[in-house]
């Protein structure tokens, strides 16, 4: 009787197996999306009508090519294209050029990606801080987890006693402050 039971099982599995095979060949005909190759996010949305987000503003500025390259290298373009809201301190090309010779080239290396991310995230805080929102001695919690200290003297905004705000540009997902220096997080100092 055990033999019969075994036989029944075998028969059943055979039936199942043959069925799985046909299901397999069916699913092979389904053109599944290659999700692993889906790169990026909102920065790819085709929209020439809406107000520009912080990334699109940076990309359209000839004074921020280093920053844009660095954001791309650090995989931060997608995050900064999202809903935010962000306050971004955007060093100019000139500001990056003030760093010791070779610093930027070094940071752009694959092995230094985390350092680059850390530095760039030190330039972003969540929330829209308008010029009138800054006050002397204010501490800003930056996206990388460190703080920036604000100085306001005679209406002029300085960060960490060294980096000066030149001007501000409103963006759809926040506000950009053009700054004349690169903010270096405490650990990287």
């Amino acid at each position: 009787m055990k033999y019969i039971t075994n036989l029944l099982y075998t028969t059943f599995f055979l039936a199942l197996f043959s069925c799985n095979q046909s299901a397999g060949s069916d699913s092979a005909r389904v053109e599944s999306p290659d999700t692993t190759k889906l790169a990026g996010g909102q920065e790819n949305v085709q929209d020439n009508d809406s107000e520009k987000d912080v990334v699109k503003i940076a990309v359209s500025s000839k004074d921020h090519t280093t920053l844009v390259t660095a954001l791309q290298k650090a995989d931060l373009v997608t995050a900064l294209s999202n809903a935010g809201p962000f306050t971004v301190f955007a060093p100019t090309n000139e500001a990056f050029a003030k760093l010791p010779a070779g610093t930027i080239d070094e940071l752009m290396k694959d092995a230094k990606k985390e350092d680059l991310r850390n530095i760039l995230q030190y330039h972003v805080t969540l929330g829209v801080l308008k010029p009138e929102s800054f006050s002397d001695g204010q501490k800003l919690g930056m996206v990388n987890g460190d703080n920036v200290t604000v100085q306001v003297k005679e209406g002029k905004i300085t960060l960490n006693n060294s980096v000066h705000v030149i001007t501000s540009i409103p963006a759809s997902n926040g506000i950009i402050y053009i700054v004349d220096g690169v903010l270096l997080p405490p650990a990287a100092k």
Binding site: C19, E31, P85, L126, G127, S172
Partner: protein, 666 residues
Amino acid sequence: MKNFKSKLMVAIGICALAFGFQSCKPKNAGNAVSGDAAAKAYVAPGKYDGFYNFVSGGFSGQMSVYGLPSGRLLRVIPVFSVDPEKGYGFSEETKPMLNTSHGFVPWDDLHHEDLSQTNGVIDGRWIFANANNTPRVARVDLKTFHTAEIIELPNSAGNHSSPFITENTEYVVAGTRFSVPPDNVNGDVPINSYKKNFKGTISFISVDKTTGAMSIAFQLRCPGVNFDLSHSGKLKSGGWFFFSCYNTEQANTLLEVNASQRDKDFIMAVNWKKAEEYVKAGKGEKQTVKYVHNVFNEKTHSATSETKTEVIVLDTKTLKDICYFIPCPKSPHGCDVDPTGEYIVGSGKLAALIPVFSFTKLMTAISNKDYIGDYEGIPVVKYESALYGEVKKPGLGPLHTEFDGKGNGYTTMFVSSEVVKWNIKDLKVVDRQPTFYSPGHLCIPGGDTRSPDPKYMIVYNKITKDRYLPTGPELAQSAQIFDITGEKMQLILDFPTIGEPHYAQAVASDVIRNSSVKFYKLEENTNPFVSKGESETKVVRKGNRVDIYLTAIRSHFSPDNIEGIKMGDEVYWHVTNLEQDWDVPHGFAIKGALTGELLIMPGETQTLKWSPEKPGMYPFYCTDFCSALHQEMSGYVRVSPKESKTALLFSTGKNLAPNDSTIVKN
């Protein structure tokens, strides 16, 4: 034992064969889905569907938009029912959309839709919809997917054979399902005086070529019957419109039995070009009526209601050459015209055949006065003289027909629960497939126009038992997509629908998607209560009316601290969304509001009326997750007793001055 074993082996062998065969068979009675169905309905994440499918919401009163072939729900457009989710019918700006001569009507029953056409081809500008209960027609703008206009229909009840359009969207028609005494006579008459007092009215609503603005051009006064469905002629028959009607018995009770007495009811052919001539020649009677016309203005983001008091009526009994009746078996329901305009298909829902009428033969019969008599003064053409032929034994309970432009009609069979493909020329059935269960309407993209785009057919079913996981006594109605590119129709997907789907429309996505609006331009906003920037926000008191001009932008309201509201105040929150970015609406809700929320599109101003019920502190907040600081997007409004002297103060980002609420004692 050996004998037993060998017998058993044989039995098992047969069993295995049967098992294997049965379990791998692509089709069985309950499922009828073949192996590559999933691939045909599959749209990869991040990919657009090829077609929009606009599906009527039936008793939800709304219209839903799906992608085809994925069946993904893209949008529910509020049309005839309030929608607290979108603030539709709750905001001061949208409330007038639902005004009628009966007052504010918060619900209706949306059955049919028709996409606007130019030269018989879908142009993607507007979609029209009917209100079946309180008779109205709506126009939805397909740039914004918002209801742009609603017009009420006088002399009507149960606007069912609507909102079908002519080939250049010259007119949208509306035929009354329930005949009633006209609005300008005393309707307080015995119900059983139907034959004497009740009239059926057909409305022709003109549509402005550029703006889409609707206006009742004229109405046809017809015999009291039930008009059911309709479709415009095409090409050679383009100047004609065809309406099915039942209850030619003129029963006023137990229609189930009493309206099914006669062998044949009618399809009414209407020469609307002729009717136009009569109107131009001044043959119409000006009738005093009352109906309401509501228009949404995209610049003020507000609707206005206007009451109209006159309509032009043509009497089809005296103006003889507008209407002709064609006998049609057994309470015809669907009334569909093929892409060439030659064939008119009536679907007698109790008939065992589908009659196909010939427009050419109809014209000959009319010119030869080949009549069998008249019905309340309207000539009745001899059945055989208008008939092209009959589809014999197509199935049970034919309801609606759509066309593929390749010479085939597709008819739903309610009673036998199937869809039947048949050849128009030889009237032979080509294929039949079961649907699950009890199909009503069906839709082929462009399937009621001159040029169908016949990749898919969607069938909308009334009963869904066992198709989806049980959800209590009621299950979602079901749409089923068939691939109709081959000789045989292939079921590829079920998808659940909103409310009860009746008719639907579908069109290739590129006809619509490229003109879709991303946001409203703030500089073009002329709402009287707009704040175009935070510097323009304010709180203004006039007696007990308080207007709060509020702005919303990621991630705060301005002002967000307000004091000095008092009991008995009528507070109007005018919220302007300052965003100029696609897909960034903000919401607005306040504790205790006896309304809905506001959902404010970028660049738009919407107003919520609020009358606080008791003194205290009321938070308000953004309901639409807008940003990382969405939870911070909130504010407080302080409500003081009526007699208090709390000053009216407001601010954002800094504290208000001390504000004593001591009650003033006289």
